[in-house]
């Protein structure tokens, strides 16, 4: 990487994200800017995804960070003409969370790629704690769906909670649209049956 490019990247760093988020919707002029737009569109939704699964602010922060680090690694392969960035990121997030669960069960450190665990400051902890609280309802829904097979739970979460289209959700889960619709239909049917039996 030449000095000019490094300077450019460093200069981007100096600008606050909020100001950049208000830039007009012109096409990105560089991969960094394109990724930034992807980040801004999705970081909040992904935080919510993890906040429904974890009660610890630091873990939510780490998993969100890890998802974007992996997204950087795979950005060369992401083609927006083939599917939305949100679907792509949810696919990554699902794998990050699966790996986190696996490593947590093994007592190993799950996420430490972004310069190790960057400890959150007090404001960030408070912010993320509020976010976790805000996702309480979603977390309760997730618990209610706990009896569903994982794939059906993922299907119903992505469509009914995250409001992805079935096509996008199928993409995120790496399955065909036909298979995905079957899962979604099965999941909804199971939940309907459960509702009837509880009445």
């Amino acid at each position: 990487m030449n000095t000019e490019t490094t300077t450019l990247v460093t200069a981007r760093l100096q600008r606050p994200v909020a100001r950049r988020a208000r830039l007009p919707g012109r096409p990105p002029s560089s991969p960094v800017e394109e990724f930034e737009q992807v980040y801004l569109r999705n970081v909040d939704v992904l935080m919510g995804y993890f906040a429904r699964r974890c009660r610890d602010p630091q873990t939510v922060a780490d998993l969100t960070s890890e998802t974007f680090v992996r997204a950087v690694d795979g950005f060369a392969g992401f083609d927006p003409r083939r599917g939305s960035d949100r679907a792509w990121l949810f696919g990554i997030a699902a794998r990050v969370f699966a790996r986190y669960c696996e490593q947590s069960a093994g007592g190993r450190d799950a996420v430490a790629r972004l310069g190790g665990h960057r400890l959150l400051d007090e404001d960030e902890i408070e912010e993320l704690t509020e976010r976790i609280d805000a996702e309480r309802e979603g977390a309760a829904l997730m618990q209610r769906w706990a009896q569903l097979p994982a794939v059906e739970r993922a299907a119903i979460e992505l469509v009914d909670l995250e409001e992805l289209s079935p096509k996008e959700a199928a993409l995120a889960l790496g399955v065909s649209r036909v298979a995905f619709r079957k899962r979604l239909s099965r999941a909804r049917s199971r939940l309907r049956k459960e509702d009837h039996s509880n009445e």
């Binding site: 970081v43 690694d73 990554i92 794998r95």
Partner: protein, 222 residues
């Protein structure tokens, strides 16, 4: 934007900005769509067209099968010449009555150890052991021009592999290398390589009847 998201972006650009700046992004334009041959019209001309398409798929320069499944008493060996063909391979396993689905995770760079990777069976998996070999010896190279928009260009290897039960519960994988059994071999025509180099856990065998459509090229990110 919150403090956290601001800080995270700053960290991301500081740590990974140089990498990002050099990423080769797909050029804007219509996506390449895989089209099916017009086989539904019927009649002699249509049948002739189908025959030609098969010859091209099986005998042309890109005739390397996308995957091959080998079964014997040691279990199942899946050879992936193009890792994006995993959904089709899983569908084929299902059609063979093997109620297991394979999930893989790719990493960049060549494999440090050649040979197939043994997949970790998830709890509840009762089928035969499964191994996956990516590329000829564990390393897959996607060259410029091989894929639309040059997505996924580079050298990749299999980082981990898992086997999922037909109930669809997920599990994580490990790796390992072992021998190369041979018996029944089933080959399929080539498909497009996966962008980003990562394949994701795929549907359980019992619920998948076909692979992803032509618009599923982003399943490999991360």
């Amino acid at each position: 934007m919150s403090n956290f998201t601001d800080h995270l972006w700053t960290d991301l650009v500081r740590e990974h900005g140089p990498t990002l700046a050099q990423v080769d992004r797909p050029k804007p334009g219509p996506a390449r769509v895989l089209r099916r041959p017009p086989v539904l019209a019927g009649g002699t001309l249509a049948l002739a067209g189908v025959g030609a398409a098969l010859v091209l798929a099986l005998g042309g320069p890109a005739a390397t099968p996308a995957f091959a499944i080998t079964t014997n008493s040691d279990g199942v060996l899946l050879k992936l010449n193009i890792n994006s063909s995993l959904p089709q391979a899983n569908a084929k396993l299902a059609s063979m009555g093997i109620h297991e689905a394979i999930g893989i995770q790719m990493a960049s760079g060549p494999a440090t150890v050649s040979g197939p990777v043994t997949c970790t069976p998830q709890a509840g998996v009762t089928g035969p052991p499964v191994k996956v070999l990516d590329g000829p010896n564990g390393t897959e190279v996607i060259s410029p021009g091989q894929t639309g928009g040059n997505t996924g260009v580079g050298t990749w290897h299999l980082a981990s592999c898992s086997v999922f039960s037909s109930t669809g519960e997920t599990s994580a994988g490990n790796s390992g290398n072992s021998g190369n059994p041979a018996a029944t071999v089933i080959a399929e025509p080539s498909t497009k390589p996966v962008p980003g180099g990562t394949a994701v856990p795929v549907a359980p065998a019992g619920s998948v009847s076909s692979g992803p459509s032509g618009n599923s090229g982003n399943t490999g990110g991360g």
